[in-house]
């Protein structure tokens, strides 16, 4: 009973969270699309998402586009010998049967040339281009500057 109430509460609190929406493109499931609030529009924004390939063919994320930024790119934060750098990722592999996360400290979309400040609670569309599956538009929710990810009831 307790757990029922708890899960009901969690569902309630998670219900309005846009970042918990799931998008489907063929065998790909795309969820937890979120971004961080920015201070003004002069610094780059960030884009995180989780992609699950339920199919039997490998795919790859090869690009992102959004009206929110003039130059969105895929990057990867790499820490080598204690030094963090941020090389471009030409493509992000999404192997068959696996989940790939664009998450803090790893792969991420870097949104350069923001057209406007990203404020907490805003949302904007991002078009994801995959090598095989094609394109899909996802809604990205802007969370607080201090967010570490969306609070979804299915998040693990």
């Amino acid at each position: 009973m307790k757990s029922l109430i708890l899960s009901a509460l969690l569902t309630l609190s998670a219900a309005p969270v846009l970042a918990c929406e799931t998008f489907t493109l063929g065998d790909l499931n795309i969820e937890h699309a979120w971004s961080r609030a920015t201070i003004g529009a002069d610094r780059p924004g960030v884009f995180y998402v989780e992609i699950t390939n339920n199919g039997s063919t490998d795919d790859a994320l090869i690009g992102i586009a959004t009206p929110a930024a003039g130059m969105p790119m895929l990057h990867e934060t790499v820490v080598t010998d204690g030094i963090a750098s941020m090389p471009h990722a030409m493509s992000i592999p999404v192997p068959a049967g696996q989940t790939v996360e664009l998450a803090p400290g790893g792969y991420h979309g870097m949104l350069m040339g923001l057209t406007t400040t990203l404020a907490e609670g805003d949302s904007f569309p991002v078009t994801l281009s995959f090598q095989n599956a094609g394109e899909v538009v996802v809604n990205v929710e802007v969370l607080s500057l201090r967010a570490e990810g969306p609070d979804c009831d299915d998040a693990n």
Partner: protein, 197 residues
């Protein structure tokens, strides 16, 4: 008799060689092992967002949480500063005993973009410091950290920064206590910090 003498000389030579070899092998090893433990007092002389020059001396008695970064950094820096902000919130009344510092490794651009609004967006207690090239390099060298400007035509302003992303803990007497590697959760930092206060 002559043979014995020769033998003595040879033994002595062998002994010396062993000793010399031992010193060569052991000393650098001991030195490299000792580095993380060695108490050293990293220092800085850097202006804050209002231009007031800050040094470790004014923070005597407080623990310092020091992070080197740049405000144009979309992934690593917000993640670490969010953790620092969480630690400060969770410290409650003990928060006064800890001073978080954000040292800009991209000071010119960070001043232009706004240093104070950046640190304040994470937590009002964080002091942002941004000096000139020489002051910044001196602070980084003192903390023994790395940073470099990397040309990147696709990046904003044509460059990005690579840097050591760890968080450094300095004790109330200015001693370097430890580092928290990038990605250390706020709860782990808090658990380490609380017994020290």
């Amino acid at each position: 008799m002559r043979l014995t003498r020769l033998q003595k000389i040879l033994w002595a030579a062998a002994g010396l060689a062993t000793l010399a070899y031992g010193l060569l092998v052991l000393l650098p090893n001991r030195a490299s092992e000792a580095v993380p433990q060695a108490a050293f007092r990293p220092t800085f002389t850097l202006p804050d967002a209002e231009g007031r020059v800050r040094t470790p001396a004014e923070f005597a008695g407080q623990h310092l949480l020091v992070f080197f970064g740049f405000t144009n950094c979309p992934d690593v820096c917000p993640t670490t500063l969010s953790e620092v902000a969480q630690v400060m919130d969770d410290l409650g009344d003990d928060a006064a005993l800890v001073q978080p510092l954000f040292i800009s490794i991209d000071p010119e651009r960070d001043r232009r973009l706004g240093l104070a609004e950046f640190t304040a967006a994470f937590h009002p207690s964080i002091i942002g410091l941004a000096g000139d090239e020489a002051q910044t390099r001196a602070a980084a060298d003192s903390f023994r950290i790395f940073y470099a400007r990397e040309g990147d035509a696709a990046a904003p302003d044509g460059y990005t920064m690579s840097h050591s992303p760890a968080l450094y803990l300095i004790g109330p007497e200015g001693d370097w206590l430890r580092q928290f590697t990038y990605g250390t959760p706020a709860t782990d930092i808090l658990a380490d910090l609380q017994p020290r206060l």
